[in-house]
């Protein structure tokens, strides 16, 4: 009966090993398909999107007046109109010669790096808000100091294209007077920027609204207060103060009520592109400006889209503007040089080392050692399945962690068998003793591993997650399988 029990456990282990290392094949459309999930790999094993940002060498056309001052919004004027006004067109480089310095290249690289870190944080915040999986992220960045080229490697996933389209944005923020084009606020006035959610229950639209929240510095807050005080929509009785109206203000006359509505507007621009033109309903004293992005919706996909859009803007504003304008010159998916053949070599090496170590175990402990070997193989198989089904992203660090877990389990089994041979206590007592001794020494390692799981850098989190599942498995599996096997054998 006891032999049958041992045989059943061993057969179960063999079955799991077959499933894990060979797979379960099913006939699908006349071809055999493995139904066991494969591993998910990180950027260093799967491949990465390689982006080369090159400083813009293009030119832009500006219009100057007779005194040599730049005239805004004159691009649409015809040559005749320009001549009439005494304006002249001039082509100037998008990046002036004097800004193309190593310091500015380095500053641009630093800003891109900060943006990438912020994108990672914000994406995970949004995903958490919408109950989506955490985005595993890491990047490589390098600067070619002689040319100013910036080379970036990022993982290929749903967010890659959005990152590529935003990463090279200059991020120049301006609030200007819609009429005079006077610059009222710039990036210098921004303290921080993020996204907020609100709810709307108006008749036209109801649901969640996404806001781009811009928080200004102390000076910026003062400027905003002044602007919001000045750029307002006012309604006055005609004739009362008509002569006092600013010549730049827009005015409409409501003849029926004999009222004049005067609206002085500001224009918000990012990278010289007009985002919005508006006036203020009330004076803003909080130093915060909240702009709604999109319309209210109850569809979480739509709201997430707006949140991603607002988040991109918030990141660009929060991190600051780049001194140099860059263009995406290269944007390619490049597979890793760690090919499947190399991974197979690593796998076979781990198996070969394990086989040698397991032979040592059999030689040292005979039958108990052999049962320990079966137990070890079972753990390795279940561990392999857990990694695949818990969606752990395997990086090179993760592969090292697999090796470390197997070593830790080997040490445990060896310790357990050694204690069992020396002790006259029951298997259960030896198990308790081994567990206490083994895990008390691992507490700092476990603290580190759990903390690694929460780090927003995929190589570390991959290592942490693999180790976490490994340690949990060592703790649960050995008490159930190894201890049971040896307990049955002892009774035998």
């Amino acid at each position: 009966m006891k032999k049958v029990k041992i045989l059943t456990i061993v057969l179960a282990i063999i079955l799991i090993t077959m499933i894990s290392f060979v797979g379960v094949y099913v006939n699908v459309q006349n071809r055999m398909e493995n139904k066991v999930k494969g591993y998910s790999y990180a950027m260093d094993i799967k491949g990465a999107r390689v982006i080369r940002l090159k400083k813009s060498e293009g030119t832009k056309t500006i219009v100057k007046d007779s005194e040599g001052n730049q005239v805004e919004d004159a691009e649409n004027l015809t040559d005749e109109e320009l001549n009439e006004k005494g304006y002249t067109k001039e082509n100037i480089p998008e990046n002036a010669e004097n800004i193309l310095s190593i310091e500015n290249y380095k500053k641009s690289k630093e800003i891109i790096e900060n943006r990438l870190q912020k994108i990672n944080e914000e994406t995970n915040k949004i995903n958490k808000q919408f109950n989506l999986e955490e985005n595993n992220f890491n990047y490589n960045i390098a600067l070619e100091e002689s040319t100013g080229d910036i080379l970036i490697e990022i993982p290929e996933n749903d967010y890659t294209d959005s990152i590529v389209s935003n990463i090279g944005t200059v991020g120049k923020f301006e609030i200007i007077d819609s009429e005079t084009k006077e610059v009222l606020m710039t990036n210098e006035d921004i303290k921080t920027s993020n996204i907020l959610y609100g709810s709307s229950s108006s008749t036209s639209s109801s649901g969640t609204l996404v806001y781009l929240n811009i928080e200004f510095t102390k000076d910026g807050a003062k400027k905003l207060e002044d602007i919001s005080n000045k750029y307002v929509k006012t309604t006055e009785n005609a004739g009362d103060s008509q002569e006092n109206l600013d010549e730049n203000s827009e005015s409409t006359e409501n003849t029926e009520n004999n009222e004049t509505t005067t609206e002085k507007k500001i224009t918000m621009k990012i990278d010289d592109e007009e985002i919005m033109s508006t006036s203020f309903d009330e004076t803003l004293r909080t130093g915060k400006l909240q702009l709604s992005v999109g319309t209210a919706s109850t569809d979480s996909k739509i709201v997430k889209g707006y949140a991603d859009q607002a988040s991109n803007m918030a990141i660009v504003l929060d991190v600051g503007n780049m001194p140099i304008k860059y263009n995406v010159e290269e944007n390619k998916y490049v597979l890793s040089d760690i090919t499947s053949n190399i991974l197979k070599i690593v796998e076979y090496s781990i198996i070969a080392i394990s086989v040698i170590a397991l032979i040592v175990l059999v030689v040292k402990y005979r039958l108990s050692g052999l049962l320990g070997v079966f137990s070890f193989i079972g753990l390795a198989s279940i561990f392999s399945l857990i990694i695949r089904y818990t969606n752990v992203i395997l990086s090179l660090e993760g592969i090292f962690a697999i090796g470390l877990v197997l070593i830790l389990n080997y040490i445990f089994v060896n310790k357990f068998l050694s204690k069992l041979r020396k002790s006259e206590n029951s298997v259960w007592n030896v198990t308790k003793e081994t567990y206490k001794e083994y895990f008390i020494k691992l507490v700092p390692v476990i603290i580190a591993i759990v903390a690694f799981c929460f780090v927003n850098w995929s190589p570390i989190s991959s290592f942490g997650m693999v180790m976490f599942w490994g340690i949990v498995l060592i703790a649960i599996y050995n008490v159930i399988i190894t201890s049971s096997l040896l307990s049955i054998k002892a009774k035998n």
């Binding site: 960045i141 390098a142 597979l335 090292f400 700092p444 903390a451 690694f452 850098w457």
Partner: protein, 221 residues
């Protein structure tokens, strides 16, 4: 002062020598960075059909004799190849294009194939993302150790732990510098594993000391 055995003295002397030599090597020659992190040259060839990396490797081995080369497939269809190596001369480029054309029966234009440059990645950029998490985690662990082993004198436990963690990391980097092991993708996993093994070793030692203290107290009572 605790007596140090002859064996321990030899080990400490060896560690000191390795660290001194390693520091000199780092400050004079520097680390030997992996090709992936060096200033390199790149050639991209659009083969437009399936190919084996091993076949391309055979060609690059002939042309860049002894030079380390990274070969990667490009784009989702995997029909283009990127060849990265320390330096590529125009002559080598011509040879490479001609051999690839010959091998796959295609006609890549040598004139239109340009040699690209890839800037090096700074060592500090490689390790930067790991510093803050490792420092924070170490602080948490030190707090745990100081509480768990308060009977061994918390201050001593903390100082010893910091000393051993730092010493072993410096030793690891010294060995990497002296042996000229390339600093690259395998360096960080090595650092993490040494860090975890150090924690394990420290705890094992403190547990042993704690057991001795407890036993001595039991004897006294």
């Amino acid at each position: 002062m605790k007596n140090i055995s002859k064996k321990q003295k030899i080990i400490l002397a060896l560690i000191a020598i390795v660290i001194i030599v390693g520091t000199i090597v780092i400050y004079t020659v520097g680390f030997n960075f992996d090709l992936k992190y060096q200033d390199t040259k790149k050639l991209e060839l659009n083969i437009q059909k399936d190919f084996n990396i091993s076949d391309i490797k055979q060609i690059t081995d002939e042309i860049f004799q002894g030079q380390k080369v990274i070969i990667q497939k490009v784009e989702v269809y995997e029909d283009a190849v990127s060849i990265i190596t320390k330096d590529i001369s125009n002559e080598q480029k011509t040879q490479l294009v001609s051999k690839v054309n010959e091998k796959y029966g295609i006609s890549i234009d040598n004139e239109n194939t340009t040699i690209g440059t890839i800037p090096h990645t700074r060592g500090r950029d490689i390790i930067k993302p790991y510093i803050a998490p490792l420092v924070i985690i170490t602080i948490i662990i030190l707090a745990y150790l100081s509480i768990r082993y308060y009977r061994l004198n918390s201050a001593k436990v903390v100082i010893k732990s910091i000393g051993i963690i730092l010493l072993l990391q410096i030793l690891l980097f010294s060995i990497i510098a002296i042996t000229r092991i390339p600093v690259g993708r395998l360096t960080v996993p090595m650092v993490i594993i040494v860090y975890l093994l150090t924690l394990w070793g420290i705890t094992t030692k403190f547990e042993k000391n704690l057991l001795n203290v407890n036993n001595e107290e039991k004897k006294k009572n």
